[in-house]
Amino acid sequence: MDTQTKNERLLTRDQMAKRVAVELTDGWLVNIGIGMPTLVLPHVPKDRDVIFHSENGIVGMGPAPDDLADNDPDLLTAGKQPASLIPGGAFVHHADSFAIVRGGRLDAAVLGAFQVAENGDLANWKLLGAKGGSVGGAMDIAVGAKQVLVMMTHVTKEGDPKVVKALSYPVTARHSVTKIFTDMAVIAVTADGLVLDELAPGITADEVQAATEPKLRLSDSLKEIAV
């Protein structure tokens, strides 16, 4: 397969965000991680009431204001980008914010990742051999959210699989990831291993398997990602 051709068939970040957005169910409370996951918010269908939680104490976070002049330095996403408060949103302090997280109130979290293992282990906070590191709320959120939805490119820049048999990067939380959304596929983490649920248009199951370390089972209802 020609690499150039394959790259052209990979989902864009925006297409991935759109697919993740579809996953967010009406009435859910969802935490959105920093980086790529922030793209998800504008793609949530308007007829769905998905409530966003930001760990800095915003329950009911809305998108950035249309007018830059309306940006408020005290109303930011966890990634310190402009945000807003929806009508009926509320502010809580940091301990109360993580009480929501660990108390099981997050229906889902959308997080980036360096690696996901076939048992659902998540690595997303520290690069290999890094000194120090920045953990932020990743460990609390990965442990607390009912569903941990990972959004990442399928392979590293060097072409190495990021869906692996066992993590080589430092673990964020064990057995936490429930579904993986990449630029090639949607993969469910189940008690019986990884299940390939959806393929990006033009990508084959064999291509996904070749870019994935553990064995994938094909879903009985394997389908194409709507883009």
Binding site: D26, H53, G88, A95, G103, G104
Partner: protein, 223 residues
């Protein structure tokens, strides 16, 4: 948007089953959702474990639940008070079980349950008979008790205001156990004095974010 509003206390408590663990907020008679406790009596469920600071004033609230035979056990800090004759009589007759918990520990155990913490270490109760059977742990030469988080199937909450998202405010010291119990149950049911439009509550003044609330009814309780 999820519709959390129901029309009556009866609709609000529908589905509570025999044997459920139910948190009932309030301190004395202040902040007790009596519309909801009355509705549970009328529902006629049995074998409840009730978590509440008091055991009910005269024949209201938890006292009525006791009187009507709904309660098997009560987890409580101050069950025997001059105003709590119903509990006293039933407890002395062996008709209700008691787990006595210091008030601050009861509050903190509920907060821990709502915050996803398994337990916490405290000095309260060390060396007392309420420490019996509890695990202790020494930290820097001091002995602490390990107290466990507490959750319930249902929490019954009395609020002052509610909006369509379930955001709540409370009235003065009627706040007491309400905000913490609202975090610590699978089903959080609210009796609110009044409903206001979404957006009418300042996000800085909301005490319980609506995400905690499953159902609410508007019910103006007799004083």
């Amino acid at each position: 948007m999820k519709n959390k509003r129901v029309n009556t206390p009866a609709e609000a408590v529908a589905g509570i089953v025999d044997g459920a663990t139910v948190m009932v907020a309030g301190f004395g008679r202040s902040g007790v959702p009596e519309g909801l406790t009355d509705a549970i009596c009328e529902l006629g469920v049995k074998g409840l474990t009730v978590i509440s600071n008091n055991s009910g004033t005269a024949k209201t609230g938890v006292a009525r639940l006791l009187l009507e035979g709904c309660v098997e056990k009560i987890v409580c800090s101050f069950p025997r008070a001059s105003e709590s004759g119903v509990f006293k009589e039933m407890f002395d007759a062996g008709k209700v079980e008691l787990e006595l918990v210091p008030q601050g520990i009861l509050a903190e155990r509920i907060r821990a349950g709502g915050s996803g913490l398994a337990g916490f270490l405290t000095l309260t109760g060390v060396g007392t008979e309420l420490a019996e059977g509890k695990q202790t742990m020494e930290v820097d030469g001091t002995e602490y008790l390990l107290e466990m988080g507490l959750r319930a199937d249902v929490a019954l909450i009395k609020a002052r205001q509610v909006d369509g998202r379930g955001n709540l405010t409370y009235r003065k010291a009627a706040r007491n156990f309400n905000p913490i119990m609202a975090t610590a149950a699978e089903m959080v049911i609210v009796q609110a004095h009044e409903e206001v439009p979404i957006g009418a509550l300042d996000g800085e003044h909301v005490v319980t974010p609506g995400i905690y609330v499953d159902r609410y009814c508007v019910f103006q309780q007799e004083p």
